[in-house]
């Protein structure tokens, strides 16, 4: 199990995956918005999305959990 974490503080702009979905390593799963810029966050490993932890519109800090992948 791996947790995809936020690389920087910002707002969750888009969640690109759904629970149960298969993702590949390097695939963008969340887009953050920070300082008016879109920051794509990718899964480091392939797997199944077990849980979406953050919600669109949430403010998150650096290293906050976004998505759990199994």
């Amino acid at each position: 199990m791996t947790i995809v974490k936020a690389s920087m503080a910002g707002t969750v702009w888009k969640i690109l995956v759904a629970e149960g979905e298969q993702v590949s390593a390097g695939q963008d799963v969340v887009i953050l918005e920070s300082m008016k810029m879109e920051i794509p966050i990718a899964a480091e490993e392939a797997g199944t999305v077990k849980r979406i932890i953050a919600a669109e519109g949430d403010f998150i800090n650096v290293d906050d959990d976004l998505v759990e992948i199994e």
């Binding site: 920087m8 503080a9 910002g10 707002t11 920070s34 300082m35 008016k36 810029m37 403010f59």
Partner: protein
């Protein structure tokens, strides 16, 4: 003159406006979000009011809250700065309806220039050259592909409501266009609430040159020379200078004439900027009009001796411009660099606390900064934390002073683009004065990867 001006903005531009107001004995009202409670503009204004939570939608874009503060404090005018509500027609209208003066053009003029597509048509009517392209919105990818084929690749895909490079993309062929169209349309819809797209022919080796105008309500329009803003990253300006080292005196005069025609045609008042693309043969084409004070206005001030904020206040107060085109002479050369809180190679933002800030001092150096040692750079707003402006008798002197100043500009605790700026302003291509909007991709990035962290 106004007694009290509310500044509907934050950061360095709010401080800049406060400075001129103080000199003219005008009281100022600052507004701020919870994230900006310790900001310098809050301390420097005569009065300051917190109007909401950090996200701009809940504070700096909250029209009701801003108008409430204006009413409560008895402000008689509102200065919108740049960005945020500065080109928002509804806001300008609400300010006008509240019986206050909006320091900018009338709301109908803002609206007319707010749509890039409408502005294209209007400028064509005014006799200002525009880039070959379409004057009607494009419905979908198939229609876009058909139009792009007619115009001929490469083309620029653009969002009519776009700004800051959002919704805009260069596409070289049909495959790229098909990939890019919907994404940009959606992004424009999500950022601006308007997904209207259009296509223009791509101008090779483009220079971005813009003309500053001042216009009073008595029909006088005075052009205040041009600024060259070709050095950009992510379609946003990074280095700006005046005068342009690229255009000839003949082109300059033609561009200034066109800017005056454009402003007169739409009944423009206050300070405004007409942006042009200039090709390698010095043909120029209307790009868009910014109906507000520009970030890079200081370089114009440095070569003309004018205070553009003072001129804005006077014009908004109904005064006649005290000078004509012939009265305004340019002297020397000025360059501005924008200091961004971002990685110098990837350009990803770098929010955090500034643990140390030391600004270089010296002849010809001017600072417009929003932060000090101990300031938090939050993820809620634009990454620009300040601007460094240098003046020299010649471009060579300005470049030398700028490089020296950048070497002594210390920001610790966050990453900044200072290494990128230093590479840029010492690059032989930049020193030659021939800079195009492709500079960062063609000259900076290939070398810069070596210093990338």
């Amino acid at each position: 003159m106004f007694k009290k001006v509310l500044i509907a903005n934050r950061g360095e531009i709010a401080r800049r406006i406060i400075r001129t107001c103080k000199r003219l004995d005008i009281e100022t009202v600052a507004i701020y979000s919870e994230a900006d409670a310790n900001s310098l503009h809050v301390k420097e204004a005569t009065e300051s009011f917190c109007i909401g939570k950090p996200p701009v939608a809940q504070s700096y874009l909250n029209v009701e809250a801003i108008l409430d503060v204006a009413k409560q404090t008895g402000a008689d005018a509102v200065h919108p700065g740049y960005g945020l509500l500065s080109e928002n027609t509804a806001f300008a209208k609400r300010v006008e309806e509240a019986g206050l003066t909006f320091i900018g053009p009338n709301s109908d003029v803002i609206q007319a220039m707010g749509s890039k597509l409408e502005a294209r048509k209007t400028m064509q009517q005014a006799g200002v050259p525009i880039v070959q392209g379409v004057n009607e919105p494009i419905a979908d990818t198939d229609e876009a592909a058909k139009i792009a084929e007619e115009i001929g690749y490469p083309v620029m895909l653009k969002a009519s409501a776009g700004g800051g490079g959002i919704g805009m993309q260069l596409v070289n062929n049909e495959e790229e266009l098909r990939k890019a169209f919907e994404g940009n349309q959606k992004r424009a819809q999500s950022f601006f609430g308007d997904g209207t797209m259009f296509i223009e022919k791509f101008i090779a080796e483009p220079h971005h040159v813009e003309v500053q105008v001042l216009a009073d309500i008595h029909g006088n329009v005075v052009p205040v020379f041009e600024r060259e803003c070709s050095i950009q990253r992510r379609n946003q300006k990074v280095v700006e200078e005046a005068p342009s080292p690229f255009i000839s005196e003949e082109t300059r005069n033609k561009m200034l004439d066109a800017a005056v025609e454009a402003a007169k045609h739409i009944g423009y008042t206050n300070a405004g900027t007409i942006e042009f693309l200039v090709d390698r043969d010095q043909n120029f084409y209307f790009l868009e009009m910014n109906t507000r004070l520009q970030v890079e206005h200081p370089v114009t001030e440095e070569i003309t001796g004018l205070d553009l904020v003072e001129q804005q206040l006077k014009v908004a107060n109904g005064e006649k411009l005290a000078f004509s085109r012939e009265d305004i002479q340019k002297k020397g050369h000025a360059i501005e660099v924008r200091i961004y809180a971002e990685h110098p190679v990837t350009f990803f933002p770098s929010p955090g606390k500034i643990t140390k800030l030391v600004l270089p001092e010296g002849e010809g150096i001017r600072h417009e900064v929003a932060v000090e040692t101990g300031s938090d750079v939050t993820p809620f707003y634009d990454p620009m934390i300040g601007k460094l402006v240098v003046f020299g008798a010649t471009r060579e002197e300005a470049c030398a002073r700028l490089a020296n100043a950048l070497q002594n500009y210390i920001v610790e605790g966050i990453q900044t683009n200072i290494p990128m700026l230093l590479d840029t302003v010492t690059h032989e291509q930049f020193l030659s004065g021939i800079t195009t909007t492709k500079f960062v991709e063609e000259y900076y990035l290939p070398k810069a990867t070596v210093i990338g962290k």
